[in-house]
């Protein structure tokens, strides 16, 4: 039963992260939300593996963790590529303008 409870908590947290990802307001908030979502998915997979009694799903959890890690760096690289554009966007973060 505790598994279901944990899985439920994870899904609710995912929903919270989703709200943050949609609301923003800044670009970094969204990256943060997606990164959070990734960690929660990994945990969800681990818990689901126990719920359905398939330990081989843990491989998937590992793969997810890894992909998530790479995703963050891809985003950073993207930011670095657009340094000039970035300053302007960061200003709008401050003012909380819609993105």
């Amino acid at each position: 039963m505790i598994y279901y409870f944990v899985a439920f908590a994870l899904i609710v947290t995912m929903a919270l992260a989703l709200v943050r990802a949609i609301k923003g307001p800044g670009l970094y908030d969204r990256v943060l939300a997606v990164n959070m979502m990734g960690t929660k998915t990994v945990l969800l997979l681990a818990v689901v593996a126990y719920i359905v009694d398939r330990p081989d799903y843990l491989d998937l959890a590992l793969a997810y963790a890894l992909i998530n890690f790479i995703g963050v760096f891809a985003v950073l690289e993207f930011f670095r590529n657009r340094d000039s554009k970035l300053a302007e966007l960061a200003e709008r973060d401050e003012t909380g303008g819609p993105l």
């Binding site: 439920f8 899904i11 929903a15 969204r30 997606v34 793969a63 890894l66 760096f73």
Partner: protein, 326 residues
């Protein structure tokens, strides 16, 4: 109970999709599409499709995010023009008609999860029954993918191959494009901690990729997923240390070779079976017994898939990265 999780996740899926489409800022859309991929992958897993979930996570959340970001680095990230009104009305009309057709089809379908549905009666049970007999591997998906529908998978490899040469032909040779840029890029060198951690992890990621590759007959995974993971590891290296460094490790010529030889390995196995007296891709003739032959065949073609996918994904990444290095 699992059903309930599915309902929640699917509702989130729809909200995410709506947010993706309505956001005016392309970066937000791409980030949300990563979110979308993770969600749909979790749903696939809850629906018992472990291999598909792994692929979707590696491709959707990993590779396709990297590609979209690489492309976005080159263009305006904001949607400026809004379509004219008649276009929106016309699209709504087309979409509504399509959806009505789908709704019309809905009510005479077999119920969700019904074990008596036609698809669980006809071909699939035969596979589940015969994979242990014909090739004796636990992962039925790999068995079908590699052998019964091996010809489809051959096609799949060539689709990937086509995408690779297509991107090369459209965007041009990365090495040449890089030479024309003035600014040399050194990667994320000023981020000390990430760089250190990332570099330490890369060998483990590659190792894990190899595990997924060669363990694909026993657990979720296989050539495609492994290729995506290994490519992701090298992409991580390129991001951390700069593409020049990555191109030093595997030069373009090597990538060409990897792409071509993976595809040729797959097709070559087919030709070999033909020459040994079987039909195209009839692995049974590769060894003395049917089971051993099938296992050899699947191992070889999965290796071919892995090589091509790694080569193609890296090629595509380099092609985009070389353009964005302005």
């Amino acid at each position: 109970m699992i059903e309930l999780f599915n309902v929640f996740l699917m509702s989130m899926l729809i909200i995410t999709a709506l947010a993706m489409v309505s956001s005016r800022h392309l970066f937000v859309t791409v980030m949300l599409s990563g979110f979308f991929s993770l969600l749909i992958a979790a749903i696939f897993l809850l629906l018992d499709a472990a291999d598909v979930a792994l692929t979707e996570a590696a491709v959707g959340a990993g590779i396709s995010t990297v590609l979209f970001l690489g492309a976005l680095a080159l263009m305006d990230v904001e949607e400026t023009v809004r379509g004219e009104k008649w276009i929106r009305i016309f699209s709504l009309f087309v979409v509504a008609v399509t959806t009505l057709a789908l709704v019309y089809a809905a009510f005479e379908q077999p119920a969700f999860g019904d074990p008596n549905a036609p698809i669980h009666q006809h071909v699939a049970p035969w596979y589940i029954q015969h994979v242990p007999i014909h090739m004796d591997i636990p992962n039925i998906v790999t068995g079908i993918l590699g052998s019964y529908r091996g010809y489809d998978t051959l096609g799949e490899v060539f689709v990937v191959f086509t995408a690779g040469i297509g991107v090369l032909s459209i965007l041009g040779d990365p090495v040449k494009n890089r030479r024309q840029r003035v600014v040399k890029k050194a990667g994320l060198r000023h981020y000390l901690i990430p760089r250190l951690v990332g570099r330490t992890l890369i060998p483990f990621i590659v190792l894990f990729g190899l595990y997924v590759q060669f363990h694909g007959e026993y657990s979720p995974g296989g050539g495609f997923q492994a290729g995506a993971i290994i490519a992701a590891a090298i992409i991580l290296f390129a991001i951390l240390e700069g593409e020049d460094q990555a191109l030093k490790i595997i030069p373009m010529r090597g990538l060409y070779f990897l792409m071509a030889s993976g595809a040729l390995l797959y097709a070559g196995v087919g030709v070999a079976t033909m020459l040994m007296g079987g039909r195209f891709l009839e692995y049974g003739v590769l060894a003395d017994t049917m089971v051993a032959g099938q296992q050899w065949g699947i191992l070889l073609i999965e290796a071919g898939v892995g090589m091509t996918v790694t080569g193609v994904l890296l090629t595509i990444f380099h092609a985009f990265a070389a353009r964005s290095n302005l």
